[in-house]
Symmetry: C2
Subunit: 356 residues, 2 copies
């Protein structure tokens, strides 16, 4: 099979070993002589998968006691409504940092449930930097931010110091670096970047912030229901959670999120160096806010875009076309992307320079 | 690999060809030299999967124009709240038929959104029959029923004639027999019985019933959002939908739901005949309401239960322990279960008779 360099923004590249072990589980799961696609989620063999995946998440992120780890369905987009539904009453205000498309959608959704205070945004500069030094009103019920902006290629490397509970959408950089979970009250992440395939969403929530709203919460959207039932209130996305387990085991085997961070810094540095060196290309974001996960860049001469995409295609560099909101190119360098793929992209950029 | 007879109530048995093709797609999807677990859902190759799966659903069930077919996340349990959220205002009443555990949960959830009128129930006889000849108030916003009760082993073989829109949870018998979709306004089904693996939910909805409530609907819970975006408003459960496509192609290749119904009638008849003939066993449900999908039965002498489960285990008959609400045994005979598995169960029952 031709080696393809997979720069897809998500669903994105997964570790080969996780894919291989998932195939084994589809053929014969846990010695049951049945496929993982057709077994009861109440079997002890599968309950062990959910328990182990939960434990590895706790271990990798060094999660303190008092937090619950959940595997849910519906993607981060469902969290956009679950968060205010569980935390915000109609007469209360939540503070939102609007740093991109997904932050904007989260902000809009919260407006259905209560008041929203957008504390800062970089919207008028096409979200190409991360606002800092904004004020979070002390009476805000929570502060919501997005740690990595997949579309615009910015990442938060520091979080505000505040007494207001912090809720963070970490969909596209979770497990890419260490985080101090104790500084957050709720973290959520769609799996399909650094954790697994599409179809499952990780939630890490401080138990103490729940149960404080006065309105009714539909059962499936109530975090407490899923906590009480260990992510098994209803049939979970069995296979997607299994692939997450295999991916998280791979992260652990390589040295955890600390090791991932080192690799991710090296990969991002290699590509940004070439973007800054190569006279044909330029980055789109403020240097200090450049994402290690999604590297956005354009050509000084946009007319050559198709030519570079053609060259990339010839070199089996897949998924580098930029999002329509930014244009140009976007290379997603998730955990499972080897540095060799970044080297191949840099080679292509240098060869393109020679040709032009 | 030892042949296992998979009577699991769900997630349940899938066609072997669907499993094999799914493995191929994990290795190399659509000639992309990438795994289906790590490709963009916006790739034209994957968009074709969703389009084809949607079309096969329409073909298999002969869905009239004016209906939309959706693949969503969150299981039937999420539909329990999405249905009233989209169809019922606070001052309105919905009629519910309470025929089992899941019907009960759906009923309870609707109560969060408006008034609920339980038109009939068999709760006081442990849901072992399906009520008939109840009245549906003409001013009810909709009537909700459950076509097959997975836990209690009853199935609706006729639906009421009414001018009130009918909403039906078909999770455990969809694609097992022909249905006249034009008689329903909304049908939903968790995939993990007859359609695919856990993690995706089918919704078939008449467009004209939507947009009539006055309250706000969260974006991800609004059917109209998913209709407008062809089930791709956010990242769909990519692999789960692919397995559904392969399973539905298999149904089509065997002759569609008409052929499935013939096979399912034959399988159920074989097992019920043995239950009625064998003096050790008895069925738990009213004969006319016996489900073809989930066959519930007990021993005349419950003390012998463990002995029969041991014999079943020796014969590689898996998943036949009854749900705690009914006890005894439950054999789920979903589409993909071959008649040979039913014959093996009948053999075990006959051998158990000889031993006792």
């Amino acid at each position: 099979m031709t080696k393809v360099h997979n720069f897809s923004a998500g669903p994105g590249i997964l570790p080969q070993i996780a894919i291989e072990n998932s195939i084994k589980a589809i053929k014969n799961f846990a010695g049951m002589n049945l496929s993982i696609l057709e077994i009861s989620h109440r079997s002890k063999q599968y309950e062990a998968v959910v328990a182990e995946a939960t434990q590895i998440v706790k271990d990798l992120l060094n999660i303190p006691t008092g937090y619950s780890v959940l595997f849910l369905q519906g993607g981060a987009s469902t969290q956009f409504c679950m968060v205010p539904m569980n935390l915000l009453d109609e007469n209360e205000t939540a503070a939102y940092l609007k740093t991109g498309e997904w932050a904007m959608r989260a902000t809009k959704e919260a407006g259905l449930f209560g008041h929203v205070n957008v504390v800062a945004t970089s919207e008028n500069e096409n979200y190409n930097w991360i606002p800092k030094n904004y004020e979070i009103p002390s009476d805000a019920k929570y502060f919501h931010c997005t740690s990595n902006n997949t579309i615009f290629g910015t990442e938060m490397f520091s979080f505000p110091e505040t007494n207001v509970p912090i809720v963070c959408d970490m969909s596209s950089d979770i497990f890419s670096r260490p985080i101090d979970v104790s500084k957050f009250d709720l973290i959520y992440a769609g799996a399909q970047k650094n954790m697994g395939p599409a179809g499952v969403t990780l939630v890490i929530v401080k138990d103490a912030i729940l149960g404080k709203v006065t309105h009714k919460i539909p059962t499936m959207l109530d975090y407490r229901v899923h906590i009480k039932n260990g992510s098994m209130y209803n049939t979970p996305p069995v296979f997607a959670i299994y692939v997450c387990l295999e991916t998280l085991k791979w992260v652990k085997s390589l040295g955890g999120v600390e090791a991932m961070e080192k690799l991710n810094i090296a990969k991002a540095a290699l590509l940004y160096q070439e973007i800054d060196r190569n006279p044909l290309f330029k980055g789109t974001c403020a240097v200090e806010d450049r994402s290690r996960m999604n590297v956005c860049f354009v050509l000084e001469n946009p007319e050559k875009e198709t030519a570079f995409l053609t060259l990339a295609k010839e070199r089996n560099l897949e998924g580098i076309k930029g999002h329509r909101s930014v244009g140009g190119f976007r290379a997603s360098l998730y955990n499972a992307l080897p540095i060799e793929s970044v080297e191949a992209l840099v080679d292509a950029m240098q060869d393109f320079e020679k040709l032009n």
